[in-house]
Amino acid sequence: MKDWPEAIYKTLKGAGVRQVGYVPDAGHKRLIELCIADREMRAVVLSTEEEGIGLTAGAWLGGVRGALLMQSSGVGNCINHLGTVRECRFPLLMLITMRGQKGEFNPWQVPMGQATPAVLEAMGVVVHEANSAEEIAPTVDAAARLAFGSYQAVAVLISQAVIGIKSFQDQASR
């Protein structure tokens, strides 16, 4: 299954997501393009990931469902703001492309990538892992139901093995 980003996009549409905050990321490139092209969605480019926590919480106050797209390195930027999500029981749907996992070529990505699940869980975020392209969309669908139906903060971690970027040269060419 090559076009898992399109499958995520259709799942977000089906879940009624109308605001998408993102920090540009090679793994989410196609999904971001699909969201930008959708006139019913508002794609909001962020200067840092924690802005997206405020964005989606504000959207929920206004009756609109949001989702956040980021790389695992951005999770650390969000930590304090995840405390507000928990205290207020805001629904939160985070789709996180993983770095620092299998085959990482940049050592500076490894510490945050390896700590990502533990950091999220420490802040009360439910973590769903998607380790193959086929399971991503069903996992996002389940995460959206848990987030918006049960007012939970949920993160889907999309494995580096799925994204398959092997080198700086490979990343730059995408």
């Binding site: 200067s47 802005e51 919480a57 504000g58 929920w60 106050l61 206004g62």
Partner: protein
Amino acid sequence: MKTALNRRKVVEFLLGDRKGLLVVAGLGSTAWDVTAAGDSPLNFPMWGAMGNAAMFGLGLALAQPKRRVLVLTGDGEMLMGMGSLATIGVQKPRNLVVVVIDNERYGETGMQRTHTAAGVDLSGVAKACGFRAARQVRNRSQLSSLRTAVHAAPGPFFAQVKVIAEKIPLVLPPRDGGLLKARFRKALLGEGADLD
């Protein structure tokens, strides 16, 4: 810094006869100011998430394009989230206003000087980030025009209001985040807010 403005009086004047205005208040003194002007379910006073008040306002303004959204926050809080001014400048919501009540101090931690005390010009930053208009206010004579802009100017509009650095009594809103969220949604979206 030359100003004779009292923060409570400024906020009370801006929020008087507010109609359907939606208000997000940054943590600390601005949350107390907004509450002193009259607690309302359409206030979302924050007790944490320092640096993110303006982004709460952006998410809300994009979700509710027909409602006016005012973010009232302090200079320390705004300095921590300065990147959000750039993010707002990209989206350009016409219904969003950010007002910084600038006493040039971290009021909750012992009145230490903030960057604005050294001359950092937040209204200049907002202007450079693409806000449709941004101004500094430090005189009583400018307040009437500020109030008109807060309620009617095309956004995103930004104002940095220089106020006297003084300790004033705490007027606390409810603390329970779940309650603040639920009452805001109910007042804005109606009884069925959580029935979908």
